[in-house]
């Protein structure tokens, strides 16, 4: 073996070793959470800790699902995420198409983009309290609608911004040809531009779903009991007096495992969505 290829082998091994360590740093905490969710109660609080349970128990999950509130958290989360995603995608895709085809001056368009950026990054906490007061006024407190409307306020500007980037990148020739052939604006949007933008729409929908499912601040400020979602259920264990690791871990698993599976399934669109805003702006 020549010296050159020897250093190459070393380099390659070091690279794989570093990546393996990084993977462990990601996976070990997740594995630990899973183990805690299936660990029997009496093995939970020992010193030194028992990492691998002597047997696997589903008692924490059973307890969670025997509680009618858990089912409500789950259905509320599904309702909020479903409606938020559907409304966001329709409203934002239309708005982005409109903005990109209105023939706005570049300066006006960049002002609009700044507004989108501002809404994405200003301290959300500023508007949460006024939003709470408005919802109280409208008697919408503790309804899923208060959560959904709050989420739409974040997701619609964000997704409109993403879709604006997508539509501005599309070639105009096809739309112009359709226009010459007498297609109406609605037909040009629905039959020409939308199919070309479909991957972007998929990315936007997926990002919206993650954002809505994981959101905590708005959901916690406008709900009390009826309309609580999973993020609040997970956070609620923190303020409990006693340590309840089993139920706490089980609830966290209920919240994150569906999203991890979903993420693996739609990985390509998810990554595109995450990098789109940062790279293209």
């Amino acid at each position: 073996m020549s010296g050159g290829s020897f250093t190459k082998v070393i380099q390659r091994s070091l690279r794989l070793l570093a990546l393996a360590i990084a993977c462990l740093v990601v996976l070990v905490p997740l594995g630990y959470l899973l183990l805690n969710s299936v660990k029997p109660q009496n093995e939970m609080y020992t010193i030194p800790p028992i990492i691998f349970p002597s047997h696997i128990t589903f008692e924490h999950f059973e307890a969670a699902f025997n509680n009618p509130r858990t089912l409500r958290f789950l259905t509320n989360s599904l309702t909020v995420t479903g409606i938020t995603t559907a409304v966001t995608v329709v409203v934002s895709t239309m708005a982005a198409y409109g903005l990109s085809r209105m023939g706005l001056r570049a300066s006006v368009l960049s002002l609009i983009v700044f507004v989108f950026l501002f809404i994405r990054f200003y301290p959300r906490i500023t508007t949460v309290i006024p939003y709470f007061l408005v919802m109280r006024q409208l008697a919408l407190l503790d309804t899923v609608w208060a959560v959904i409307i709050g989420h739409l306020g974040i997701t619609i500007p964000f997704v409109t911004w993403l879709m604006l980037i997508v539509f501005q990148d599309l070639p105009r020739e096809v739309e112009e040809a359709a226009e010459v052939d007498g297609a109406s604006p609605l037909q040009r949007f629905g039959l020409v531009a939308l199919p070309m933008a479909a991957p972007g729409v998929a990315s936007a929908a997926i990002l919206t779903a993650f954002l809505s499912w994981n959101e905590f601040l708005i959901a916690s400020s406008v709900t009390k009991r009826q309309a609580q979602v999973l993020s609040i259920a997970v956070a609620s264990f923190v303020t409990d007096r006693g340590v309840q690791w089993g139920p706490m871990a089980a609830m966290a698993v209920i919240m994150i495992v569906p999203m991890i599976l979903f993420a693996l399934f739609v990985q390509r669109y998810l990554i595109r969505g995450i990098t789109l805003g940062a790279v293209k702006g």
């Binding site: 740093v25 996976l27 997740l30 030194p48 871990a249």
Partner: protein, 304 residues
């Protein structure tokens, strides 16, 4: 010839279309005004009012800038500003270094590398409340996995969440764990946009990997890296969920950040006036950072 006709026809249709396109924008615009702009203005009004929701159902009058003065003099606010600067400053620098490094290691299309990339981005999709919960168990000094593993190395692990200094370190660890993958993804995307020929010709000229990183990649990706840095800085400053489930701001006020301070002021003590004033102080800083982001993006776009 037909191109000229098409252009003319487009011009003619433009005014008619404009109404359609504006109609497309209206629903989104209405919602943004109702859910973002109106509460923002409302909050500006609240910042000048003496109003604590637990003692009164309506405002007890105009107090000018007194709320701002009270916030600025408040010990907890000052501590929160310091904590925020420390946590965000440290976490974001670590994320940039680790994310960029990992991106270089994770370039490639082999099966193993693709699987590694999939694993590495998992923390991005996990709810921050759940990440905080998960690390609350990991970092428990007696029963947690972290100190158990450190024990194998002969290290007596600290009281992560019970000691004021280590609690700050814990918050930084969780921020880094959750969002390094974001930097990784953005840098990977940036790297893929650098033409291979540049690296190849540099290698032919005898440049080392390190040299081509410093002289080719860094200058080409500088705007992207700076933008990522600012994005991460803003997001880290605003993060609340993971601190809520990890430390609840404790022990004492040790991990109160600006966002967490405003949260407790507004939604625990219901001091609406002071919370709004603190929000606007925080907002003025965030807006400065945002203007920088915006300016960079414009500059970068015109440079391309």
């Amino acid at each position: 010839m037909s191109a000229v006709v098409a252009t003319k026809k487009r011009r003619r249709r433009l005014r008619h279309d404009w109404a359609w396109m504006a109609a497309f924008v209206v629903p989104a615009a209405l919602l943004v005004v109702a859910v973002q702009f109106y509460p923002l203005l409302f909050s500006a009004y609240l910042s000048t009012q003496d109003w604590t929701l637990t003692s009164s159902q309506s405002s007890e009058g105009f107090v000018g800038l007194q709320n701002f003065a009270k916030v600025l003099r408040n010990d907890v606010f000052q501590r929160a500003v310091r904590n925020s600067a420390l946590i965000t400053g440290t976490a974001v620098v670590l994320e940039m270094i680790l994310g960029t490094g990992l991106a270089y290691l994770a370039v490639g299309s082999s099966r193993i590398i693709r699987a590694v990339r999939t694993l590495l981005i998992l923390p991005l999709v996990i709810a921050p409340v759940a990440a905080g919960t998960l690390w609350r168990m990991m970092l428990n000094s007696q029963m947690g996995l972290t100190n158990y593993l450190l024990g194998f190395l002969g290290i007596q692990g600290p009281d992560w969440l019970g000691n004021a200094d280590w609690a700050l370190v814990s918050v930084i660890i969780v921020d880094v764990w959750m969002t390094t993958p974001f930097v990784l993804l953005v840098v990977l995307a940036g790297l893929s946009s650098i033409p291979d020929e540049l690296h190849e010709s540099a290698a032919l000229d005898g440049a080392s990997r390190w040299k081509s990183f410093i002289y080719i990649d860094v200058p080409l990706m500088a705007p992207l890296l700076l933008l990522t840095f600012l994005f991460r800085m803003l997001e880290s400053l605003l993060s609340l969920d993971s601190i809520y489930t990890l430390t609840l701001g404790g022990p004492g006020y040790a991990t109160f950040t600006m966002t967490y301070y405003i949260y407790t002021l507004g939604l625990r003590s219901f001091n609406l006036g002071m919370a709004a004033a603190a929000s606007w102080l925080f907002m003025s800083f965030a807006t400065l950072a945002l203007l920088m982001v915006f300016w960079l993006q414009r500059r970068w776009q015109t440079a391309q």
